[in-house]
Symmetry: C2
Subunit: 242 residues, 2 copies
Protein backbone atom coordinates (compact mmCIF):
# COMPACT_ATOMS: atom_id res chain seq x y z
CA UNK A 1 0.00 0.00 0.00
CA UNK A 2 1.19 3.49 -0.87
CA UNK A 3 0.90 6.83 0.90
CA UNK A 4 -0.92 9.94 -0.32
CA UNK A 5 1.27 12.18 -2.50
CA UNK A 6 1.63 15.83 -1.52
CA UNK A 7 2.14 18.76 -3.91
CA UNK A 8 2.68 22.34 -2.77
CA UNK A 9 1.48 25.36 -4.74
CA UNK A 10 1.06 29.09 -4.41
CA UNK A 11 -1.76 31.14 -6.00
CA UNK A 12 -0.23 33.00 -8.95
CA UNK A 13 -1.46 36.50 -9.89
CA UNK A 14 -2.82 35.27 -13.24
CA UNK A 15 -5.04 32.76 -11.38
CA UNK A 16 -7.12 35.30 -9.43
CA UNK A 17 -10.24 37.21 -10.43
CA UNK A 18 -11.20 40.72 -9.31
CA UNK A 19 -11.92 39.47 -5.77
CA UNK A 20 -8.15 38.70 -5.64
CA UNK A 21 -9.02 35.07 -4.83
CA UNK A 22 -8.16 32.10 -7.03
CA UNK A 23 -10.82 31.29 -9.62
CA UNK A 24 -12.55 27.93 -9.26
CA UNK A 25 -11.53 26.91 -12.82
CA UNK A 26 -7.87 27.62 -11.96
CA UNK A 27 -8.21 25.53 -8.80
CA UNK A 28 -9.71 22.67 -10.84
CA UNK A 29 -6.87 23.08 -13.35
CA UNK A 30 -4.33 22.61 -10.55
CA UNK A 31 -6.18 19.48 -9.40
CA UNK A 32 -6.06 17.99 -12.92
CA UNK A 33 -2.41 18.95 -13.44
CA UNK A 34 -1.60 17.32 -10.09
CA UNK A 35 -3.16 14.08 -11.36
CA UNK A 36 -0.90 14.16 -14.41
CA UNK A 37 2.17 15.03 -12.36
CA UNK A 38 1.55 12.23 -9.87
CA UNK A 39 0.87 9.60 -12.54
CA UNK A 40 4.01 10.68 -14.44
CA UNK A 41 6.13 10.47 -11.31
CA UNK A 42 4.80 6.98 -10.52
CA UNK A 43 5.49 5.64 -14.02
CA UNK A 44 1.95 5.38 -15.34
CA UNK A 45 1.44 8.83 -16.84
CA UNK A 46 0.02 9.53 -20.27
CA UNK A 47 3.59 9.53 -21.62
CA UNK A 48 4.22 5.97 -20.35
CA UNK A 49 0.88 4.68 -21.59
CA UNK A 50 1.43 6.05 -25.11
CA UNK A 51 4.21 3.49 -25.54
CA UNK A 52 1.49 0.82 -25.38
CA UNK A 53 -0.89 2.89 -27.54
CA UNK A 54 -3.01 3.71 -24.48
CA UNK A 55 -3.98 6.93 -22.77
CA UNK A 56 -5.88 8.09 -19.66
CA UNK A 57 -9.16 9.88 -20.34
CA UNK A 58 -11.13 11.72 -17.67
CA UNK A 59 -14.59 10.19 -17.44
CA UNK A 60 -16.18 12.00 -14.50
CA UNK A 61 -15.16 14.46 -11.86
CA UNK A 62 -16.66 16.11 -8.80
CA UNK A 63 -15.09 19.02 -6.93
CA UNK A 64 -16.11 20.79 -3.75
CA UNK A 65 -14.64 24.20 -2.92
CA UNK A 66 -15.20 25.53 0.61
CA UNK A 67 -12.98 28.60 0.31
CA UNK A 68 -10.99 30.04 -2.61
CA UNK A 69 -7.39 30.79 -1.56
CA UNK A 70 -6.07 34.35 -1.93
CA UNK A 71 -3.43 35.68 -4.32
CA UNK A 72 0.06 34.45 -3.28
CA UNK A 73 -1.45 32.15 -0.62
CA UNK A 74 0.32 28.80 -0.23
CA UNK A 75 -1.85 25.71 -0.51
CA UNK A 76 -1.37 21.98 -0.84
CA UNK A 77 -2.99 19.26 -2.93
CA UNK A 78 -2.83 15.66 -1.72
CA UNK A 79 -3.77 12.89 -4.13
CA UNK A 80 -4.23 9.14 -4.01
CA UNK A 81 -5.78 6.30 -6.02
CA UNK A 82 -8.30 4.39 -3.94
CA UNK A 83 -9.69 1.92 -6.42
CA UNK A 84 -9.27 0.23 -9.82
CA UNK A 85 -12.63 -0.89 -11.19
CA UNK A 86 -12.98 -2.88 -14.39
CA UNK A 87 -13.33 0.30 -16.50
CA UNK A 88 -12.57 3.21 -14.18
CA UNK A 89 -9.84 4.07 -11.70
CA UNK A 90 -10.64 6.50 -8.89
CA UNK A 91 -8.18 9.28 -8.01
CA UNK A 92 -8.93 11.49 -5.00
CA UNK A 93 -7.72 14.89 -3.87
CA UNK A 94 -7.75 17.06 -0.79
CA UNK A 95 -7.02 20.78 -1.13
CA UNK A 96 -5.59 22.23 2.09
CA UNK A 97 -4.45 25.66 3.22
CA UNK A 98 -1.11 26.42 4.90
CA UNK A 99 -2.52 25.31 8.29
CA UNK A 100 -3.85 22.04 6.81
CA UNK A 101 -7.44 23.29 7.00
CA UNK A 102 -9.58 22.07 4.06
CA UNK A 103 -10.14 24.41 1.11
CA UNK A 104 -11.88 21.69 -0.91
CA UNK A 105 -11.68 18.17 -2.27
CA UNK A 106 -12.22 16.24 -5.50
CA UNK A 107 -12.90 12.78 -6.88
CA UNK A 108 -12.01 11.89 -10.46
CA UNK A 109 -12.71 8.72 -12.43
CA UNK A 110 -10.44 7.82 -15.33
CA UNK A 111 -10.78 5.34 -18.15
CA UNK A 112 -7.81 3.95 -20.05
CA UNK A 113 -8.46 4.01 -23.77
CA UNK A 114 -6.87 2.32 -26.74
CA UNK A 115 -5.58 5.18 -28.91
CA UNK A 116 -6.60 3.50 -32.17
CA UNK A 117 -10.12 2.37 -31.34
CA UNK A 118 -10.55 5.17 -28.72
CA UNK A 119 -12.50 2.67 -26.63
CA UNK A 120 -11.99 1.92 -22.94
CA UNK A 121 -9.79 -1.06 -22.13
CA UNK A 122 -10.26 -3.48 -19.24
CA UNK A 123 -8.36 -2.18 -16.20
CA UNK A 124 -8.16 -5.50 -14.35
CA UNK A 125 -4.49 -5.99 -15.33
CA UNK A 126 -3.71 -2.44 -14.14
CA UNK A 127 -5.31 -3.21 -10.80
CA UNK A 128 -2.99 -6.20 -10.49
CA UNK A 129 0.26 -4.61 -11.71
CA UNK A 130 -0.29 -1.29 -9.90
CA UNK A 131 -1.79 -2.64 -6.69
CA UNK A 132 1.03 -1.13 -4.67
CA UNK A 133 -0.02 2.34 -5.88
CA UNK A 134 -3.39 2.04 -4.11
CA UNK A 135 -3.97 3.93 -0.86
CA UNK A 136 -6.37 2.44 1.66
CA UNK A 137 -8.41 5.56 2.27
CA UNK A 138 -11.88 6.22 0.86
CA UNK A 139 -12.83 9.15 -1.38
CA UNK A 140 -13.20 12.40 0.61
CA UNK A 141 -16.65 13.20 -0.84
CA UNK A 142 -19.58 11.64 -2.67
CA UNK A 143 -18.55 10.37 -6.12
CA UNK A 144 -19.40 12.32 -9.32
CA UNK A 145 -23.09 12.15 -10.14
CA UNK A 146 -24.53 11.09 -13.48
CA UNK A 147 -26.32 14.14 -14.90
CA UNK A 148 -29.50 13.62 -16.93
CA UNK A 149 -32.33 15.58 -18.50
CA UNK A 150 -30.79 19.03 -18.79
CA UNK A 151 -33.40 21.47 -20.16
CA UNK A 152 -31.40 24.49 -21.43
CA UNK A 153 -32.88 27.96 -20.98
CA UNK A 154 -29.90 29.54 -22.80
CA UNK A 155 -27.56 28.32 -25.54
CA UNK A 156 -24.15 29.49 -26.69
CA UNK A 157 -22.30 28.46 -29.84
CA UNK A 158 -18.54 27.91 -29.77
CA UNK A 159 -16.37 26.80 -32.66
CA UNK A 160 -13.44 24.64 -31.48
CA UNK A 161 -10.18 26.49 -32.20
CA UNK A 162 -6.44 26.07 -31.63
CA UNK A 163 -6.47 27.39 -28.04
CA UNK A 164 -9.17 24.86 -27.07
CA UNK A 165 -7.39 21.65 -27.96
CA UNK A 166 -4.90 19.40 -26.18
CA UNK A 167 -2.00 17.22 -27.35
CA UNK A 168 -4.61 14.85 -28.75
CA UNK A 169 -6.52 17.44 -30.89
CA UNK A 170 -9.49 17.08 -28.53
CA UNK A 171 -11.08 19.90 -26.56
CA UNK A 172 -9.32 20.11 -23.22
CA UNK A 173 -11.32 19.77 -20.03
CA UNK A 174 -10.45 23.25 -18.81
CA UNK A 175 -11.98 24.92 -21.86
CA UNK A 176 -15.29 23.12 -21.28
CA UNK A 177 -15.22 24.31 -17.67
CA UNK A 178 -14.46 27.92 -18.71
CA UNK A 179 -17.37 27.84 -21.18
CA UNK A 180 -19.69 26.67 -18.37
CA UNK A 181 -18.52 29.29 -15.85
CA UNK A 182 -18.76 32.03 -18.51
CA UNK A 183 -22.53 31.49 -18.81
CA UNK A 184 -23.17 32.19 -15.11
CA UNK A 185 -24.00 35.63 -13.72
CA UNK A 186 -20.59 36.90 -12.57
CA UNK A 187 -21.86 37.17 -8.96
CA UNK A 188 -21.78 33.37 -8.60
CA UNK A 189 -18.17 32.40 -9.50
CA UNK A 190 -16.90 35.40 -7.50
CA UNK A 191 -18.97 34.75 -4.35
CA UNK A 192 -17.62 33.40 -1.05
CA UNK A 193 -20.02 30.48 -0.58
CA UNK A 194 -19.05 26.80 -0.71
CA UNK A 195 -19.82 25.11 -4.02
CA UNK A 196 -19.86 21.77 -5.80
CA UNK A 197 -19.07 21.02 -9.45
CA UNK A 198 -19.79 17.78 -11.35
CA UNK A 199 -18.67 16.82 -14.85
CA UNK A 200 -19.64 13.76 -16.80
CA UNK A 201 -18.07 13.03 -20.18
CA UNK A 202 -19.74 10.94 -22.87
CA UNK A 203 -17.77 11.56 -26.07
CA UNK A 204 -14.83 13.69 -27.17
CA UNK A 205 -14.97 16.86 -29.32
CA UNK A 206 -12.37 17.68 -31.95
CA UNK A 207 -10.74 20.66 -33.64
CA UNK A 208 -13.09 22.39 -36.08
CA UNK A 209 -16.35 21.11 -34.59
CA UNK A 210 -19.04 23.52 -33.46
CA UNK A 211 -20.17 23.17 -29.84
CA UNK A 212 -23.57 24.12 -28.49
CA UNK A 213 -23.36 24.86 -24.78
CA UNK A 214 -26.87 24.47 -23.35
CA UNK A 215 -27.34 26.00 -19.89
CA UNK A 216 -30.26 25.41 -17.54
CA UNK A 217 -30.03 28.26 -15.03
CA UNK A 218 -30.95 27.35 -11.46
CA UNK A 219 -31.34 29.49 -8.36
CA UNK A 220 -27.69 29.23 -7.20
CA UNK A 221 -26.00 27.51 -10.13
CA UNK A 222 -26.71 25.77 -13.41
CA UNK A 223 -26.79 22.45 -15.25
CA UNK A 224 -25.19 22.05 -18.68
CA UNK A 225 -25.28 19.88 -21.75
CA UNK A 226 -22.64 20.41 -24.44
CA UNK A 227 -23.22 18.87 -27.86
CA UNK A 228 -21.05 18.78 -30.98
CA UNK A 229 -22.22 19.70 -34.50
CA UNK A 230 -25.80 19.09 -33.33
CA UNK A 231 -25.03 15.37 -33.62
CA UNK A 232 -24.19 14.02 -30.18
CA UNK A 233 -24.02 14.97 -26.51
CA UNK A 234 -20.36 15.26 -25.52
CA UNK A 235 -20.70 15.99 -21.81
CA UNK A 236 -22.97 17.24 -19.06
CA UNK A 237 -22.11 19.30 -16.01
CA UNK A 238 -23.64 20.85 -12.92
CA UNK A 239 -22.52 23.74 -10.68
CA UNK A 240 -24.24 24.60 -7.40
CA UNK A 241 -23.41 27.10 -4.66
CA UNK A 242 -24.80 26.70 -1.15
Amino acid sequence: MAEKSIYDYRVEPHEVDFTLKMTIPDLISTVLNTAGRDALGKGFGVEDLLAGNHSWVLSRMAVEVDRRPEQHEAYRVTTWISEYGRLLSTRNFEILDGDSRPLGRAVTEWAMIDMTSRRAVDLSWVGDSHRDALVDEPSPMAKPVKIRNVIPSEKMIHRVAYSDIDFNRHVNTMRYIDLMFDMLPVELPTCEDPMRFDLHFMKECRYGQTLTVGCEHLDRGARYEISADGEYVALRGAIAWK
Copy 2:
Protein backbone atom coordinates in the same frame (compact mmCIF):
# COMPACT_ATOMS: atom_id res chain seq x y z
CA MET B 1 23.50 48.68 -11.84
CA ALA B 2 21.73 45.36 -11.43
CA GLU B 3 22.20 41.96 -13.05
CA LYS B 4 19.74 40.09 -15.25
CA SER B 5 17.32 37.91 -13.27
CA ILE B 6 17.06 34.23 -14.17
CA TYR B 7 13.95 32.05 -13.87
CA ASP B 8 13.89 28.33 -14.63
CA TYR B 9 10.88 26.51 -16.04
CA ARG B 10 9.89 23.20 -17.52
CA VAL B 11 7.26 22.73 -20.26
CA GLU B 12 4.13 21.32 -18.59
CA PRO B 13 1.90 18.82 -20.44
CA HIS B 14 -1.01 21.28 -20.51
CA GLU B 15 1.20 23.80 -22.37
CA VAL B 16 1.83 21.67 -25.48
CA ASP B 17 -0.24 21.26 -28.64
CA PHE B 18 -0.53 18.10 -30.75
CA THR B 19 3.06 18.53 -32.00
CA LEU B 20 4.05 17.93 -28.32
CA LYS B 21 5.87 21.28 -28.37
CA MET B 22 4.96 24.28 -26.21
CA THR B 23 2.40 26.58 -27.79
CA ILE B 24 3.59 30.12 -28.59
CA PRO B 25 0.77 31.65 -26.47
CA ASP B 26 1.92 29.54 -23.48
CA LEU B 27 5.49 30.70 -24.03
CA ILE B 28 4.32 34.34 -24.14
CA SER B 29 2.30 33.68 -20.98
CA THR B 30 5.47 32.51 -19.20
CA VAL B 31 7.28 35.66 -20.37
CA LEU B 32 4.53 37.90 -18.95
CA ASN B 33 4.31 35.95 -15.69
CA THR B 34 8.09 36.25 -15.37
CA ALA B 35 7.74 40.04 -15.62
CA GLY B 36 5.24 40.02 -12.77
CA ARG B 37 7.36 37.66 -10.66
CA ASP B 38 10.49 39.73 -11.14
CA ALA B 39 8.78 43.04 -10.38
CA LEU B 40 7.16 41.53 -7.27
CA GLY B 41 10.49 40.16 -6.02
CA LYS B 42 12.16 43.55 -6.51
CA GLY B 43 9.45 45.47 -4.63
CA PHE B 44 7.76 47.23 -7.54
CA GLY B 45 5.13 44.69 -8.53
CA VAL B 46 1.48 45.46 -9.18
CA GLU B 47 0.79 44.62 -5.51
CA ASP B 48 3.26 47.27 -4.29
CA LEU B 49 2.01 49.89 -6.73
CA LEU B 50 -1.62 49.42 -5.71
CA ALA B 51 -0.73 50.91 -2.31
CA GLY B 52 -0.12 54.18 -4.16
CA ASN B 53 -3.20 53.69 -6.37
CA HIS B 54 -0.97 52.86 -9.35
CA SER B 55 -0.59 49.80 -11.56
CA TRP B 56 1.60 48.59 -14.42
CA VAL B 57 -0.15 48.24 -17.76
CA LEU B 58 1.41 46.54 -20.78
CA SER B 59 1.57 49.02 -23.63
CA ARG B 60 3.46 47.12 -26.35
CA MET B 61 5.25 43.85 -26.73
CA ALA B 62 7.30 42.04 -29.36
CA VAL B 63 8.31 38.40 -29.17
CA GLU B 64 10.53 36.28 -31.40
CA VAL B 65 10.38 32.49 -31.16
CA ASP B 66 13.14 30.52 -32.93
CA ARG B 67 12.19 27.09 -31.62
CA ARG B 68 9.30 25.91 -29.42
CA PRO B 69 10.60 23.73 -26.54
CA GLU B 70 9.28 20.17 -26.17
CA GLN B 71 7.04 18.73 -23.47
CA HIS B 72 8.96 18.39 -20.15
CA GLU B 73 11.95 20.26 -21.63
CA ALA B 74 13.73 22.59 -19.18
CA TYR B 75 14.16 26.19 -20.29
CA ARG B 76 15.18 29.49 -18.77
CA VAL B 77 13.89 33.05 -19.01
CA THR B 78 16.23 35.93 -18.19
CA THR B 79 14.76 39.39 -17.72
CA TRP B 80 16.05 42.92 -17.17
CA ILE B 81 14.89 46.52 -17.33
CA SER B 82 17.05 48.54 -19.70
CA GLU B 83 15.34 51.90 -19.69
CA TYR B 84 12.83 54.19 -17.97
CA GLY B 85 11.39 56.69 -20.42
CA ARG B 86 9.01 59.46 -19.40
CA LEU B 87 5.95 57.29 -20.03
CA LEU B 88 7.25 53.76 -20.72
CA SER B 89 9.69 51.41 -19.05
CA THR B 90 11.37 48.74 -21.16
CA ARG B 91 11.66 45.17 -19.85
CA ASN B 92 13.59 42.62 -21.91
CA PHE B 93 13.71 38.84 -21.99
CA GLU B 94 15.84 36.06 -23.39
CA ILE B 95 14.41 32.54 -23.61
CA LEU B 96 17.15 29.89 -23.50
CA ASP B 97 17.23 26.11 -23.66
CA GLY B 98 19.07 23.85 -21.19
CA ASP B 99 22.36 24.43 -23.07
CA SER B 100 21.86 28.23 -23.04
CA ARG B 101 21.05 28.25 -26.77
CA PRO B 102 18.40 30.84 -27.67
CA LEU B 103 14.78 29.72 -28.07
CA GLY B 104 13.54 33.28 -28.44
CA ARG B 105 13.47 36.77 -26.96
CA ALA B 106 11.04 39.56 -26.11
CA VAL B 107 10.79 43.28 -25.46
CA THR B 108 7.91 44.75 -23.48
CA GLU B 109 7.03 48.37 -22.78
CA TRP B 110 4.99 49.19 -19.69
CA ALA B 111 3.13 52.30 -18.63
CA MET B 112 2.32 53.08 -15.00
CA ILE B 113 -1.28 54.22 -14.68
CA ASP B 114 -3.23 56.00 -11.98
CA MET B 115 -5.98 53.56 -10.99
CA THR B 116 -8.61 56.29 -10.65
CA SER B 117 -8.04 58.27 -13.83
CA ARG B 118 -6.60 55.19 -15.66
CA ARG B 119 -4.13 57.54 -17.34
CA ALA B 120 -0.37 57.08 -17.60
CA VAL B 121 1.73 58.81 -14.95
CA ASP B 122 5.15 60.38 -15.47
CA LEU B 123 7.83 57.75 -14.82
CA SER B 124 10.69 60.21 -14.22
CA TRP B 125 10.53 59.65 -10.44
CA VAL B 126 10.59 55.87 -10.98
CA GLY B 127 13.69 56.20 -13.11
CA ASP B 128 15.33 58.06 -10.21
CA SER B 129 14.19 55.85 -7.33
CA HIS B 130 14.70 52.56 -9.20
CA ARG B 131 17.89 53.45 -11.04
CA ASP B 132 19.72 50.58 -9.34
CA ALA B 133 17.26 48.12 -10.95
CA LEU B 134 18.48 49.06 -14.44
CA VAL B 135 20.77 46.68 -16.34
CA ASP B 136 23.23 48.15 -18.81
CA GLU B 137 22.41 45.86 -21.70
CA PRO B 138 20.34 46.80 -24.73
CA SER B 139 17.13 45.07 -25.82
CA PRO B 140 17.83 41.73 -27.56
CA MET B 141 15.68 42.55 -30.61
CA ALA B 142 14.01 45.42 -32.43
CA LYS B 143 11.41 47.17 -30.26
CA PRO B 144 7.66 46.53 -30.75
CA VAL B 145 6.36 48.14 -33.92
CA LYS B 146 3.39 50.47 -34.13
CA ILE B 147 0.77 48.68 -36.24
CA ARG B 148 -1.47 50.76 -38.53
CA ASN B 149 -4.02 50.37 -41.31
CA VAL B 150 -5.20 46.82 -40.70
CA ILE B 151 -7.70 45.84 -43.43
CA PRO B 152 -9.57 42.78 -42.07
CA SER B 153 -10.54 40.03 -44.49
CA GLU B 154 -12.28 38.08 -41.68
CA LYS B 155 -14.06 39.13 -38.49
CA MET B 156 -14.97 37.24 -35.34
CA ILE B 157 -17.27 38.40 -32.54
CA HIS B 158 -16.42 37.61 -28.92
CA ARG B 159 -18.40 38.66 -25.87
CA VAL B 160 -16.12 39.31 -22.88
CA ALA B 161 -16.89 36.75 -20.16
CA TYR B 162 -15.61 35.72 -16.70
CA SER B 163 -12.73 33.59 -18.01
CA ASP B 164 -11.43 36.52 -20.10
CA ILE B 165 -10.88 39.06 -17.34
CA ASP B 166 -8.09 39.78 -14.89
CA PHE B 167 -7.98 41.07 -11.31
CA ASN B 168 -8.91 44.47 -12.74
CA ARG B 169 -12.06 43.35 -14.64
CA HIS B 170 -10.22 44.03 -17.92
CA VAL B 171 -9.60 41.49 -20.66
CA ASN B 172 -6.27 39.83 -19.93
CA THR B 173 -3.51 39.96 -22.51
CA MET B 174 -3.40 36.19 -22.95
CA ARG B 175 -7.03 35.99 -24.04
CA TYR B 176 -6.42 38.58 -26.78
CA ILE B 177 -3.45 36.52 -27.95
CA ASP B 178 -5.50 33.29 -27.96
CA LEU B 179 -8.22 35.00 -30.01
CA MET B 180 -5.60 36.06 -32.56
CA PHE B 181 -3.95 32.64 -32.84
CA ASP B 182 -7.38 30.95 -33.11
CA MET B 183 -8.07 32.79 -36.39
CA LEU B 184 -4.96 31.38 -38.11
CA PRO B 185 -4.95 28.18 -40.17
CA VAL B 186 -3.77 25.57 -37.63
CA GLU B 187 -0.70 24.78 -39.79
CA LEU B 188 0.91 28.10 -38.80
CA PRO B 189 0.97 28.00 -34.95
CA THR B 190 2.03 24.33 -35.09
CA CYS B 191 4.84 24.78 -37.64
CA GLU B 192 8.57 24.68 -36.86
CA ASP B 193 9.61 27.97 -38.43
CA PRO B 194 10.87 31.02 -36.51
CA MET B 195 8.24 33.69 -35.95
CA ARG B 196 7.69 37.19 -34.61
CA PHE B 197 4.68 38.59 -32.75
CA ASP B 198 3.87 42.26 -32.06
CA LEU B 199 1.11 43.67 -29.87
CA HIS B 200 0.19 47.30 -29.46
CA PHE B 201 -2.47 48.35 -26.93
CA MET B 202 -4.54 51.50 -27.22
CA LYS B 203 -7.41 51.13 -24.76
CA GLU B 204 -8.69 48.51 -22.32
CA CYS B 205 -11.75 46.29 -22.75
CA ARG B 206 -14.06 45.36 -19.89
CA TYR B 207 -16.37 42.59 -18.74
CA GLY B 208 -19.59 42.46 -20.77
CA GLN B 209 -18.28 44.31 -23.83
CA THR B 210 -18.46 42.73 -27.28
CA LEU B 211 -15.16 42.47 -29.14
CA THR B 212 -14.76 42.39 -32.90
CA VAL B 213 -11.53 40.65 -33.85
CA GLY B 214 -10.63 41.79 -37.36
CA CYS B 215 -8.01 39.64 -39.10
CA GLU B 216 -6.09 40.53 -42.26
CA HIS B 217 -4.66 37.21 -43.45
CA LEU B 218 -1.20 37.38 -44.96
CA ASP B 219 0.90 34.75 -46.69
CA ARG B 220 2.66 33.46 -43.55
CA GLY B 221 0.77 35.23 -40.76
CA ALA B 222 -1.80 37.92 -40.11
CA ARG B 223 -2.42 41.43 -38.82
CA TYR B 224 -5.21 42.17 -36.35
CA GLU B 225 -7.36 44.98 -35.06
CA ILE B 226 -9.61 44.34 -32.07
CA SER B 227 -12.36 46.83 -31.33
CA ALA B 228 -14.89 47.02 -28.49
CA ASP B 229 -18.65 47.52 -28.93
CA GLY B 230 -17.92 48.95 -32.38
CA GLU B 231 -16.84 52.14 -30.58
CA TYR B 232 -13.06 52.17 -30.33
CA VAL B 233 -9.95 50.27 -31.36
CA ALA B 234 -8.55 48.50 -28.29
CA LEU B 235 -5.39 46.98 -29.76
CA ARG B 236 -3.62 45.88 -32.91
CA GLY B 237 -1.33 42.91 -33.43
CA ALA B 238 0.79 41.20 -36.06
CA ILE B 239 2.07 37.62 -36.38
CA ALA B 240 4.55 36.53 -39.03
CA TRP B 241 6.40 33.27 -39.64
CA LYS B 242 9.58 33.14 -41.72
